[in-house]
Amino acid sequence: MVDRDFTNKIRRTLIYIILAIGALSVPFFTQSPYILHILILTGIYLILAQSLNLMLGYVGFLSLAQTAFFGIGAYTSTILAVTYSQSFWVGLVLAIIIPSVIAAAVGIPFLRLSRHSFVISTLGFLLICWLIVRNWVEVTRGPLGIPGIPSPKLSVFNLLDLNFAGRVNYYILVIVFVLVLHILLTKLVRSRIGRAFIAIREDEALAQAVGINTMKYKMLAFSISAGIAGVAGSLFAHYITFLDPTVFEFYNLENILVITLVGGSGTIGGPMLGSIIFTILPELLRVAKEFRLIVYGAILLLTVLLMPEGIGGKFKTYLHKRRIREVYAK
């Protein structure tokens, strides 16, 4: 048994390494700024989708506030870079911390509510953030937006001097974040904390009865997911070099909902698949945005009705069944 686990683990690691090498080697094959642009956006939306995935797929709570944290992270990082001339890395750290802290703060009342009210309150939170950012003109410049966001730079002891302004470099930056996040998330969901999340998702009352402090774990998940969304926001802002309140628009939310659910909530690889499909596909079919969203809506609906675990979930079930068959074949 242990041996099989180990083999599986090695197999998984190998697949991961192959994917990582594949992703990192893309710039050697193509330097087309347009393709890299698509891939960068794919990566950023993937990170944001993982934030939703953590809450919905693992803890089982639908949080519509993820794009709010995305926006907060983006604005934090931007304001630090533009108004206070801080480096991207300082902005990044705070883009993780500030949304996490805010999530913890609003999580205290929100996570006590019934699931229905939680969903609505996260929606209300998103709209309030949007409203605040639009109106707090002194800090955010409101609908004018903040242009001229500098690109990340990295200099270490005068040895290194990297500027991530170029498309290639930014792509690598995003991919590194995606891959590191993948490792961290995998570790998290397989840990005791991750198992607590899943227990809460399956049956919160039972989890409580067994002695799990569900409130603590829900708060933890909410904060972590907010931090992840903040990272995505920071990367987004420094890439587009212009930030305005449209980051809070429903389009981003609808995008990650489709990515996460069709890709497979509750798996780490699912959103990866989803983000590739749903960022690359629309560029291939250059149809009107509205039509695309209608199709997204239809796909989302069909997925919820017929395949709620998503492609990733279906794959996981398939693997699981195969393993059971192998065990019984012995």
């Binding site: 089982g60 639908l62 229905h116 209300g124 509205e290 809506g297 989302l300 009705l305």
Partner: protein, 292 residues
Amino acid sequence: MSAETIFTQHLVNGLLLSGIYGLVAAGLTLIYGVLEIVNFAHGEFYMLGAYFTFIASAWLDLPYYISVALAVALSTFIALIVERGAIRPIVERSFESKVLSTFAISMILANTALLLFTATPRTVKTGLAGTIEIAGVFFSVERVLALLTGYLAFLALHLFLQKTRIGKAIRAVAQNRDACYVVGIDLNKMARITFGLGIGLAGLAGALIAPIFSIEPSMGQAIVLKAFAIVIVGGFGSVKGAALAALIIGLGESLVGGYVSATLKDGLAFLIIILVLILRPQGIFGRATRVL
């Protein structure tokens, strides 16, 4: 213009808003009460009601009140299709599934409207002109009629729920689903009727508001949040609560818009959502909240 007249004017404006919001919220809360679904697509049916009215009156040249009736009928018809195809199959599934299903429907409806009608605002003419002036306070005839029709509809709803057999059955399901199984109430039928009824109310609200403000595909999203605020304040599942909360929020918005700031008046609804959820999650008349 004296301070009292201004105040009264704001109050009157608020009453109209309350009527419209109330219709939409009543539908939303009924649907929640019976089907245990938070219908994220509710705003889109309101929007459909407005657009159907527009099609009937501007493109088919039908008189306004006939357009309204037609719009309500069409919205309800679509509601029944949606109920059969997208809601019935997942009525027993997890809450998140149901929310996502209605969210998907709202995406489809909103973007279809955007594709068909474009974002250019449309207007509907009622052919009713004129303003009534009483003691320095102005009421446009259009608004007064919309207001009266809205409140009449509300009254009809109330009587339906209180006096008719089906209405009582609906209230029973909202109160205790399981007991209804025992008593032999056909839950599927009740679900269908309630969904149709709730959507019909939203469609009516849209049809009534169509000539007063302009119509655009995003109007559904704008109103659904106000409706949520009302449902939360009034209590999920309580029509009485929705009525009272609609008055509070409608009037509140008008006063905030007039005395404080027009941009913040929309924030009022969102703020109320958060405050109520923190301080009194079950709302005024709601059932005790299950924490889990």
